[in-house]
């Protein structure tokens, strides 16, 4: 094809696309990985590092791994070198225990149903475009109580003691209760702390500062041991309930401070504008202040939630068996003992999926609620 040459007047030449070497994959590599000699060295080092880590890890965890075996010995017998690859058969063998804890096997459908209800509740809270969202929100409010009844039983269902709860189910119960109850309580505490009524303010400050000043593990110990000494015999109530209350209180104090930060980030003009419209305290907060304050607090709130979700593993110390606890208890079974790596990697993957999901959602929410151009 003959080359077409055209002449343009000065200033009339249309913008040309940037040269190939400056955009696309090549450009990206050039600017981000190879821009200076130092970066070239760092890139090479990183490549070498990945090369030496990923293929063996992949081989260990996927290619050579064993998925069906009756015991550790049988597992190792299937490998070229004993302990040379992951033995996921151990996790597979115990998956029921990891998910349901000690929940009676014939009643596990109740837990499964709760998981389904949970997904529905999450969807109706998180996605605004869902049809019939108003009912969805009411449902989400009722969800903890429905599930509570479903899991514990009573009123027609067989009663299951909460000391049989364990595994992933227990993590979700503690995490979701903490998250869903601590947000409203935290908002109230934050508003209370900024209140002009001294009694309310001092009370809220005391609660927040006391709870924030004590480590969660200490609160859990109080819940599991001290309360029993103080309550008259026979009245000591359920350990899980005590733990839930402590976790929720702990979380509320942190959420309150995060939201107070958000409230302080709202310019005074917004408060004055709300007042000048003649709105009451409740209306001005519900319509003007809180929506803005909550929006700017999202990263902090999600951060606190992720922290809480991971802190649920602390219940291990007071003898409740969350996935980590189930894993450690399973390691005491002489048939499988010694496969600690598999257990910890499995639990890590579980927590990573949950926490990464939360953090992605918060990013999405921030973008959606952003009012800037």
């Amino acid at each position: 094809m003959a080359e077409v040459t055209r002449t343009y007047k000065v200033g009339q030449h249309p913008d040309l696309p940037p040269p190939r070497s400056e955009v696309g994959v090549i450009g990206w590599v050039k600017y981000n990985l190879l821009s200076t000699p130092f970066n070239v060295i760092m890139t090479l080092l990183a490549l070498w590092f990945l090369w030496s880590i990923i293929p063996p890890l992949f081989e260990w965890a996927v290619l050579d791994s064993v998925w069906t075996a009756e015991s550790r010995k049988a597992c190792w017998a299937k490998m070229e070198v004993p302990e040379g690859a992951a033995c996921w058969a151990f996790i597979k063998d115990r998956i029921g225990l990891y998910i349901y804890g000690f929940y009676p096997a014939e009643l596990r459908w109740r837990v499964n149903l709760s998981f389904v209800l949970l997904v529905l509740a999450i969807v109706s809270v998180l996605y605004e475009n869902m049809p019939g969202r108003k009912f969805g929100l009411w449902y989400a409010v009722a969800f903890p109580f429905i599930t509570g009844w479903l899991l514990v039983g009573g009123l027609g269902l067989t009663h299951v003691e909460t000391d049989q709860f364990g595994g992933i189910m227990l993590t979700f119960i503690i995490g979701i209760t903490g998250i869903s109850f601590s947000l409203p309580i935290g908002i109230l505490l934050a508003l209370g702390r900024r209140s002009t009524l001294p009694v309310i303010r001092i009370l809220c400050v005391l609660i927040i500062e006391f709870i924030r000043g004590v480590p969660l593990i200490a609160l859990l110990f109080i819940a599991s041991t001290m309360l029993n000494y103080f309550l008259p015999p026979g009245t000591a109530f359920d350990l899980l309930l005590r733990v839930l209350i402590m976790v929720t209180l702990f979380q509320s104090a942190y959420i309150a401070e995060v939201i107070r930060g958000g409230l302080q980030g709202i310019p005074n003009g917004q408060y004055e504008a709300a007042d000048s419209l003649g709105l009451t305290y409740a209306k001005s907060h519900l319509l003007i202040i809180l929506p803005q304050a909550l929006k700017i607090s999202i990263p902090g709130i999600v951060n606190t939630f992720i922290g809480l979700f991971k802190d649920t593993t602390l219940v291990l110390i007071i003898g409740m068996l969350d996935p980590l606890g189930v894993g450690r208890a399973s390691l005491a079974d002489a048939v499988w003992a010694g496969l600690a790596r598999e257990v910890y990697i499995f639990v890590a993957i579980f927590f990573f999926i949950c926490c990464f999901g939360m953090s992605r959602y918060s990013l999405w929410l921030e973008k959606r609620l952003s009012t800037e151009n």
């Binding site: 190792w76 029921g96 225990l97 000591a236 007071i318 208890a329 079974d333 002489a334």
Partner: protein, 339 residues
């Protein structure tokens, strides 16, 4: 104001004392509840662990089942109250558990200070050392200069320091938290020696791909008598737990097993007949049914059976009876007579 505060504190204190003393009648509580709550560990190889369907198994759990068989006539009616080393005594003393079968070393301070009642030693343990055979070490006295994996904050740490000091040897401590961590450190060669209770060493060694290359040294440097405990203040309940343990030992001594216990009911030995409730009313004196010991042996087995099933030679843990053999066979397991 001060008066008010004082009275509140007094009320709380009274409540605390009440809850500590109002535990008499554990037997009635257990019968009413229809389940025995045993404080067990959150997982110790061979002693307490959940199987894949969540059923608790192990040496300690079997003794818990024996107690349930004696009290409720059904070894399945147990509830495992899982507890860590830190919470076990509070769980018992606050009434969340009825009896503690949890790999617990009997010591003066626990018996007297924590106000527990211990009932015999169902497992004699002791702290030992494990090394790789290629080091060529034959005795713990040759361990001078070695690096030792040791769990922090335990009595084993103090025992180790005492032992090395006594023999004028030096060592480098590698502090670890859990057994899994010790295993990793020991296998990677970070420490030459791993020290903990001998039963724990055997359990850990059984998980090595090359178990035959590791040896547990003959020296046992501490006494770790493990036994069941109950709260102060309920003598009847204490007697029951004591004699549940003795029944398993006596049964082994007299050759009564879960297989032959029905035949033994027509034995000529008066002690067997008394124990199994064919003659006399020992069960009723304890506040239990006549056939309490029969139920233990029928449903759970005698001491030897419990030992072999959970930690004995045929299990992956593979412990020899050693000190835990019957006194007639050179061990320390000895029960007072059923008379």
């Amino acid at each position: 104001m001060r008066n008010k505060i004082t009275s509140v504190i007094a009320a709380l204190g009274t409540a605390a004392i009440m809850s500590a003393t109002a535990n008499a009648g554990t037997l009635d509580d257990v019968k009413k509840r229809g389940a025995l709550r045993c404080v067990v560990s959150t997982g110790i190889a061979g002693f307490a662990y959940p199987d894949k369907s969540g059923v608790w198994k192990g040496f300690d759990v079997d003794f818990c089942r024996a107690t349930a068989a004696a009290v409720l006539g059904d070894a399945k009616k147990i509830k495992a109250v899982t507890s860590t080393g830190k919470t076990r005594f509070t769980k018992l003393n606050s009434g969340e558990g009825d009896v503690l079968w949890r790999n617990t070393t009997i010591t003066f301070s626990r018996d007297v200070g924590v106000k527990l009642r211990f009932h015999g030693v169902n497992y004699y343990d002791g702290q030992g050392f494990m090394v790789n055979k290629k080091l060529g070490v034959k005795s713990a006295k040759e361990l001078g200069g070695a690096s030792v994996c040791i769990q922090t904050g335990t009595t084993t740490e103090l025992n180790l320091a005492d032992y090395f000091h006594e023999h004028g040897m030096k060592y480098e401590a590698v502090a670890i938290e859990t057994n899994d961590e010790a295993r990793q450190n020991y296998m990677s060669g970070r420490c030459d020696v791993y020290t903990t209770d001998a039963s724990g060493l055997a359990a850990t060694r059984s998980t090595f791909p090359d178990a035959q290359n590791h040896v547990i040294l003959p020296e046992i440097i501490s006494k770790e008598p493990l036994g069941p405990a109950t709260r102060h203040g309920d003598d009847q309940w204490s007697d029951i737990v004591t004699w549940v343990y003795y029944a398993t030992v006596t049964a082994e001594e007299l050759g009564v097993t879960s297989a032959n216990v029905d035949k033994m009911k027509s034995s000529k030995n008066p002690e067997i007949l008394r124990m199994l409730g064919v003659e006399g009313n020992q069960g009723e004196e304890l506040g239990l049914s006549k056939d309490w010991a029969y139920q233990i042996i029928k449903q759970v087995g005698n001491y030897g059976e419990i030992f072999e099933r959970n930690i004995g030679k045929s299990t992956p843990i593979g412990l020899a009876r050693g000190l835990n053999a019957l006194w007639t066979k050179g061990g320390l397991q000895y029960s007072p007579p059923f008379r």
